[in-house]
Symmetry: C2
Subunit: 254 residues, 2 copies
C-alpha cells in the first residue's frame, strides 16, 4: 500500500491565488517537502510535518519525497507558482526516471497553479497577450551559451520573453548580460517589466525601456518580462501605466 504523491504550486504567494484543488491536496497530505518560504505559505495542522530543505537540492528533495510516498505516506511536494514551470514537477519526474521501479507505481498527482509571469502580467495589463516564452536565466543546469543563443532567437522571432531566476547572490551578472544581448536585437524603447512578489504585500512593479533596463532592479523574487517590438504602453493619469501586447500582428511585421 503506497501513499499519494502530490506536487502542488501555491501560486505567486497570495493565498487568494492558490486553487481549491491545491488546498485540497494540502489537506490530504501529512508530510510536506519544499523550500521553507513556499511551505510557510501553507496553514498546516499540528499533525502535518514540514520537511524543508535548501532550494538548490531539488533532486534530493524529490527522492526523499518519493521514498516516503513509497512507504505509504501521503506526501505533498510544494513549489511556488506552478510546479511544472522551473519547479519541482520536473525534478520528481527525473527522480522517478532514474529511480527504483516501484516509484513508477506511485499515485502521482501534479496540481497546476498560477505561475509568476501570469500574475505579473495581470498586474500590469496584458504583456503576454501574444506569442511568448519563458526562459530560466539560471546557468546552474544549462550552459550560459545556450541561454544567450535562445534569448537572441526568441527575440528575433518576435516573442515576448519572461525571464525566471533572473538573478541571485551566486548569479549576479547574468541578467545584465541578457539585457545587453537583447539590446542587440530589440529596439531600445521595448518595455521591460520588473515584477516583484506579484500579489504579495511587498509587491513592486516597475516598467522601463530596454535601453535603460537596470539588472540591479531585480532580485530573486522578481520575474522580468521583456516586450516584443509590438508591445505598447498606455499612460494613465494617477494610475500605473498599462503594458500590453496586441493580439494582432500587422501584415509586414515580423
Amino acid at each position: 500500500m503506497t501513499g499519494k504523491l502530490y506536487v502542488i504550486g501555491t501560486g505567486p504567494g497570495n493565498p487568494d491565488q492558490m486553487t481549491p484543488e491545491a488546498a485540497r491536496a494540502v489537506e490530504a497530505s501529512t508530510e510536506f517537502f519544499g523550500y521553507f518560504p513556499y511551505i510557510d505559505r501553507l496553514a498546516l495542522r499540528p499533525d502535518q510535518v514540514k520537511v524543508a530543505s535548501d532550494n538548490r537540492e531539488e533532486l534530493n528533495r524529490a527522492q526523499a519525497a518519493l521514498q516516503r510516498a513509497a512507504q505509504g505516506v501521503n506526501v505533498c511536494v510544494v513549489s511556488g507558482g506552478d510546479p511544472g514551470v522551473f519547479a519541482m514537477a520536473a525534478a520528481v519526474c527525473e527522480a522517478i526516471d532514474a529511480g527504483p521501479a516501484e516509484w513508477r507505481d506511485l499515485d502521482l498527482v501534479v496540481v497546476p497553479g498560477v505561475t509568476a509571469m501570469l500574475a505579473v502580467a495581470a498586474r500590469i495589463g496584458a504583456p503576454l497577450g501574444h506569442d511568448f516564452c519563458a526562459i530560466s536565466l539560471s546557468d546552474n543546469l544549462k550552459p550560459w551559451g545556450v541561454i544567450e543563443k535562445r534569448l537572441r532567437m526568441v527575440a528575433e522571432a518576435g516573442l515576448v520573453i519572461a525571464l525566471y531566476n533572473p538573478i541571485s547572490k551566486a548569479r549576479p551578472w547574468q541578467l545584465g548580460t541578457a539585457f545587453e544581448v537583447l539590446r542587440t536585437v530589440l529596439p531600445a524603447e521595448t518595455p521591460v517589466i520588473f515584477g516583484r512578489a506579484a500579489g504579495r504585500p511587498d509587491e513592486r512593479m516597475l516598467v522601463m525601456p530596454l535601453g535603460e533596463a537596470d539588472a540591479a532592479r531585480a532580485d530573486m523574487a522578481t520575474c522580468v518580462i521583456i516586450g516584443s517590438p509590438q508591445t505598447r504602453v498606455i499612460a494613465r493619469d494617477g494610475k500605473d501605466d498599462l503594458v500590453y501586447t496586441p493580439r494582432f500582428l500587422a501584415p509586414g511585421a515580423t
Copy 2:
C-alpha cells in the same frame, strides 16, 4: 462614479482550478461579458446578467464591457484559462488604447488564472519543465508566414512549444502544416501531447511521436504541446506514461 472592470480567467474549466480571487471578482460583478461556454462555468445569482457574444468578436465585447463600466456598472469580462494568454485582457487593453480618454480612468483589475498549457502539463508530468513558449496557431490576427517562421526558430532554439488555438472549422489545415514544419527541425520521436479539456469530465490526454502526430486528434478544446529534443517519456505499467523535460541541459546539447 465609474464601475470596476474585472478581467478574469476561469482556469481550464474545472471549478477546483479557479482561484478564490477570481471567485470574489465574480461575486462583486453584476454584468458578465464573454464567450457562452466560459460564462456558463460560473454559478451566477439571479441579479447577475450574462452578456454573451461570439468568441470571435473580442474587441467589440471589450468595448461594450468598458462602456458599461464607464456607466458605473461593476463588470466582469470572462476568459477561460488565464485572461492574459490569447484572451480578453489584451483585447480590453487594445480597446482602452484606442478608446475615449475616460476609459483610462476606469478601475481595471486583471485576475490571473491557470492557463491550459499548465493544466495539460500537470496531467501528463512536467513537459514544460525547461524553457518553453506559447504560440497561437490562429492566423486570423497574424500572417501564417510569421507563425511558420516562429515555429522553426523556437524549435531550433530548443524550446518546448505549447500551441493554442490549434484548429477550428475555419482553420482546418494549420496544425497539420505546423507539424510538417516542426518535422524538418525536430527528431521524429519528439513527444507530442494532445491535451483536451484538462481537468474536465471530457478530458482526453494523448501522446504520440512527432513523426506520427495526426492533426485530426485535436479540436478547439485541445492544447498541443510539442517537446524539445530533451523531452523524455517514462512508461508505467497500468498507468499513463509520464512526459517531462529535464531541468538540466547537458553541456554540448543545444
